[in-house]
Symmetry: C2
Subunit: 279 residues, 2 copies
């Protein structure tokens, strides 16, 4: 097995490294919060990394954004007021916008540079965001924003990075309590919650905290090939509705690229080692 | 993003490279058929590669073996006579052995060196195989073996490598016709069928051929972190039974590591891009 020849980008994570052949590096600059890099890859389109971790690629971004947005928005019968925390690349907001019944989307990203880089290198992710009057850009700290909200939102989506210095607070009990308070009495929250192969302990912690604070909590999975193991988890918690069921009949979206109503339910059926790991 | 420092093994596949940190290389030798390598990795246990492609790791082997063996063996109401083609590491046969109703397992691996290497470096995979009188070791060419068989098997499992020179025949119509003839009138076949992210065209070809030859055919997925995208597919075809349903009540297996009866059905719910790609 030979060493890599030619030009590659590489993410190293817990004794695993995932590399993609690149045409060139397009961007690399420290923002006020993190190192932002963009590569033009051979097979995955443009690829963004934050602090050395792959975040989003043009070719596969639909998986993450379909699954973070549509599972909670179809589990809720009639989502109107939605809050997106993080997700500065715009892709999550773009999918929320497809739900015609949604009347307001508060979009709270801490790092404006991520949005600017996305506008430049990932145009499909931000398409229509600025023209859609439902989208309220509120650059700032999502944790502080949620603390000030009261029974306002039908759905809150948390699209943060790994639980490091900048996003660690998005995985804690205090934040989850604030999210619970910011939701209406039948509200649903959903968040990315890391990789079951490499970080099952983090997922267990998130699930345990959510189950204490919300009436219902669940975990579902999706295949994302730009993350080191290819398996990714989302944690969802609800004040009333079972999140693995679809009940929204108002968001008439005809075509998805990853999500399907049948996959909504199926994605909650966990492999035994994941069930055991979060018990 | 920095280059890899220290000792790693790397598989390169279609402009993607997946590397694992290793303690040392344990084995590297050309067999009569292929280059066989074994690495002691930091996090995945011992890892075997054939012709530079990762095949099996101690830490995650249960996913592939659970899903290749248990889905067809639970879709069949009463599997007794089983044929395993390939799978020289022993893991698939080990899982078939757990089904108490199975009375015979013909194990046809082309490369005896793979089995010998597995005995030495992957003892958990071959555990009990030689002591179990139901297991008939028949080293040789699986394609020729199947050609000579007539209505004998309840289940045939095809555990081959990628469709290169050595295993390419395991993906063709002629072989599938031979498998069909080798199965009893209610028999089921199941095979690994590559990665939907990188080889959807191969999967489409397999599915198209199986649908022409068998009454029912289906595709299901599993998360395997040692394969470059982490997403793997299995193609299953049946002369009578719908393969996504469980109907075997005789194989009373109490505990799995990946498979569950609910996941059996759920694994057939495909993401939209996979559904579109195999149409």
């Amino acid at each position: 097995m030979a060493a890599l020849k030619g030009k590659w980008c590489t993410e190293t994570y817990r004794d695993t490294a995932l590399s993609f052949r690149i045409k060139k590096k397009l961007y690399a600059k420290k923002s006020g919060f993190q190192m932002v890099e963009v590569y033009e890859t051979e097979k995955h389109g443009n690829l963004m990394a934050l602090d050395g971790c792959y975040m989003v690629s043009e070719a596969e971004e639909f998986v993450y954004h379909d699954m973070l947005a549509h599972v909670p928005l179809f589990a809720h019968p009639n989502p109107r007021n939605v809050l997106v925390i993080g997700g500065g690349d715009g892709g999550t907001v773009r999918e929320v916008m497809r739900h015609k019944g949604v009347t307001n989307i508060d979009f709270v990203e801490i790092d404006p540079d991520v949005y600017e880089v996305s506008k430049r290198y990932f145009p499909a992710l931000v398409k229509g965001l600025e023209a859609d009057k439902r989208v309220k850009f509120k650059f700032g700290d999502g944790i502080k924003f949620v603390k000030a909200a009261r029974s306002e939102y039908d759905v809150i989506l948390i699209d943060g990075t790994d639980p490091s210095e900048i996003a660690g607070g998005l995985f804690g009990a205090e934040f989850f309590k604030d999210v619970h308070r910011a939701l209406k009495p039948d509200g649903i929250m959903c968040m990315q919650s890391e990789d079951p192969w490499y970080d099952l302990d983090i997922i267990k912690g998130v699930q345990t905290r959510l189950k204490k604070i919300f009436k219902k909590a669940g975990l579902y999975l999706a295949y994302i090939p730009i993350y080191p193991s290819g398996m990714w988890s989302f944690s969802i918690a609800s004040k009333r509705y079972a999140p693995s069921e679809t009940r929204n009949k108002k968001s008439k979206i005809k075509k998805f690229r990853y999500y399907t109503p049948a996959l909504h339910k199926a994605a909650f059926e966990l492999p035994q080692f994941v069930k055991d790991g979060i018990k």
